[in-house]
């Protein structure tokens, strides 16, 4: 396609020059693997916007992904980036953060990766209030492997491993994160780009376990198999059925099949991070003999 574009003599050189997201991407890795209509790219746009607005030194921001379609985000970001094993990015990120507390560490992965195979790491990192920003792109399915049922798939939705419809109860991820101790919990859809970018910006400046759920269409597998139309149709659904209810009790925000979506910032509170708790505790035990680990402070 680019060959044809470049052959148009006199046409304006568009896209490459002014796209403000480009400096945040590894341009030598494009085009990306995501399908037309997929929402992951939109979340990346929001993330790039949040990074711009954050004022953080990007040399000190690291991104960690697991496996899956969203797991590929790390590889496209022009940051120190780690594409780890399935379900384990939070555990990897825990080591990365604790070994060099000056880093801002972002975990960016999908719903299956973070909350099925990675569910144990998720709940414990939230419990510990590990200083990580976790972005979960929730498309209700396992996209990379062809559309199997996920812990987030709404009851009634059809997937390749629930060919007669899903009869399991799904997770309400916001409630899960809240119950486990996350200090910041927000949910937006990829229709809400400004709000999602703002949540990511707030998340980048928040100390502790930040959980941002971004609902995103998977037109190739989830939408098609459930006869929900294409990516645009899903955006229309997000637009029509989303209700902003910031501060809502997270137990009241479950997601159903094509039903109302409660979005907003649900939790924003303060708790000592794991590292702060360790340093404070040891300073109490050992007094002046203890040197706080991580000496300086993380960017915030």
């Amino acid at each position: 396609m680019s060959e044809d574009l470049h052959s148009l003599e006199g046409a304006p050189a568009f896209c490459e020059i002014d796209n403000p997201v480009m400096p945040y991407l590894r341009q030598d890795r494009l085009p990306h693997i995501w399908c037309p209509g997929c929402g992951i790219g939109t979340t990346v746009n929001c993330f790039a916007r949040a990074l711009t607005d954050s004022g953080l030194d990007l040399d000190k921001v690291a991104i960690v992904s697991g496996i899956g379609c969203t797991g590929r985000v790390a590889g496209y970001m022009n940051l120190d980036s780690f594409h780890t094993t399935h379900g384990r990015p939070i555990a990897f990120a825990t080591g990365l953060k604790l070994a060099n507390p000056e880093l801002k560490v972002v975990v960016y992965s999908g719903d299956g990766d973070l909350t099925a195979i990675g569910g144990n790491h998720f709940i414990h990192a939230a419990r510990r209030n590990m200083d990580l920003m976790v972005v979960c792109v929730n498309n209700f399915t396992y996209g990379m492997t062809g559309g199997q049922v996920a812990p987030t798939t709404p009851p009634g939705a059809t997937q390749t491993t629930t060919p007669y419809g899903n009869y399991e109860y799904p997770f309400n991820l916001a409630h899960l994160a809240d119950a486990c101790g996350a200090v910041y919990v927000a949910r937006w859809t990829v229709y809400h780009v400004k709000q999602l970018a703002k949540a990511m910006l707030e998340g980048l400046h928040k100390k502790g376990f930040v959980f941002i759920e971004a609902l995103a269409p998977c037109p190739t597998l989830y939408s098609r198999r459930n006869r929900l139309g294409d990516g645009v149709d899903q955006l229309k659904y997000y637009k029509e059925k989303s209700v902003v209810r910031s501060g809502a009790d997270t137990k009241d925000v479950p997601l159903g099949f094509q039903s109302e979506i409660v979005v907003g910032k649900f939790v924003d509170r303060e708790r000592p991070t794991w590292l702060d708790a360790m340093n404070t505790h040891y300073a109490g035990v050992f007094r002046e003999r203890y040197q706080p680990w991580g000496g300086g402070h993380a960017q915030d």
Partner: protein, 371 residues
């Protein structure tokens, strides 16, 4: 000091400042000591939610610049296999301590075994070449642990420290030398600038120079097959190139990595090959046999992987038989057989674990072979 504590002291002396672990008998004393020692030394211990998390948290810490270790026993080691592969393909320096007990499964938690030897070589999917050391005393738990960390830094492979319950819980005198007499290998950081540097470009020894997150190099590290930039490369040519290099960096250095202790091999007609705690029993059996006039020698594997194939092959040209006692049903005996290649008999002296051999069991096989 017991072997578990000595292993922890060895790790500290080697510069390890980050440990993630999960409690499991008979290894737990290693992390207990680390947890008590590290606050005033400066570093982090975190007890993770499981061994899977422990084995990858250390890799995150390694890419942040720390020397790292996790500690476990058989059932935990099985869970860690996923990240043995990750360490191999991302060339992350890290040490896995395995205080072996009886298996399979929960097996004999409080009693010794040596049945994880093949698991560390073959347990993660794909082709990789780990390094495995096999101490037989608390003193060696200290000394060889430093070597384990050094080898992890030099070759950037997962290094296994293959203790067992007896070595871990045995108390003996341990001499810790002054710090300036301990040889510690530091990570080989790149001298290149961002822009020139390629994260998986091998140096002459086939091992890439390293950087750490936060240094401004904007590296990408993936468990996918990758090119020298670290970018995914999904094709057979790139895969062949990467996997061969990952294995070659150990294979070409296999002779340099050989670490065996040889006793009375000059005139030996029978060679006992042993490792770890069994080597102490085997030593007694060999002495007994010598007293009875049998020309028997002893070759002890200090580094079990890579296996000293060349040396065993040389011996196979001139001896009558090998006797291989081990606390399993014949794992390293298979490797001896491979090296011997049918030239002479290889006689395993098997033991399912739970205790160590009696010297008389090993002696009896030596005497049988000698007849």
């Amino acid at each position: 000091m017991d072997g578990d504590h000595a292993a922890c002291e060895g790790a500290l002396a080697a510069g390890c400042r980050f440990v993630a672990g999960y409690p499991i008998t008979p290894s737990t004393e290693v992390v207990e000591r680390f947890a008590s020692r590290i606050p005033l030394i400066g570093g982090v211990f975190i007890q993770m939610e499981d061994e899977i998390a422990s084995s990858i948290a250390i890799q995150g810490a390694a890419w942040a610049g720390q020397k790292v270790m996790t500690v476990t026993s058989g059932p935990g080691l099985s869970l860690m296999m996923e990240h043995v592969g990750l360490a191999a393909i991302t060339e992350t320096p890290c040490v896995f301590v395995d205080v072996q007990r009886g298996g399979p499964s929960t097996g004999l938690p409080t009693l010794p075994g040596q049945a994880d030897m093949m698991q560390v070589k073959w347990g993660s999917h794909g082709d990789y070449e780990p390094i495995a050391l096999s101490p037989n005393s608390p003193q060696e738990c200290f000394d060889l642990m430093i070597k384990a960390f050094n080898l992890a830094e030099i070759y950037r492979v997962p290094v296994f420290f293959m203790m067992d319950e007896v070595v871990g819980h045995m108390t003996e005198r341990v001499v810790i030398p002054p710090a300036d007499q301990i040889e510690v290998s530091e990570r080989r950081w790149t001298k290149k600038l961002p822009g020139e540097y390629r994260v998986f470009e091998p140096a002459e020894d086939l091992v890439p120079d390293m950087v750490k997150a936060g240094d401004g190099y904007r590296i990408h590290v993936t468990g996918l097959t990758h090119d020298e930039r670290g970018y995914p490369a999904m094709n057979a040519v790139a895969h062949d190139r990467l996997v061969r290099r990952l294995n070659e960096k150990i294979r070409v250095n296999a002779d340099r990595l050989v670490d065996v202790r040889e006793e009375e091999l000059d005139d030996a007609e029978i060679v006992v090959v042993s490792f770890g705690i069994t080597s102490r029993v085997a030593h007694a059996a060999v002495e007994d046999a010598r007293r009875q006039g049998v020309k028997v020698g002893h070759l002890r594997l200090i580094i079990a992987w890579p296996f000293p194939r060349t040396r065993i092959g040389e011996l196979a040209q001139r001896v009558k038989a090998f006797v291989v006692p081990e606390l399993n049903l014949g794992q390293m005996a298979l490797e001896v057989e491979r090296a011997v290649a049918g030239r002479v008999p290889v006689i395993p002296v098997t033991h399912a674990g739970g205790t160590v051999h009696q010297p008389s069991e090993i002696l009896a096989r030596i005497m049988e072979v000698a007849r």
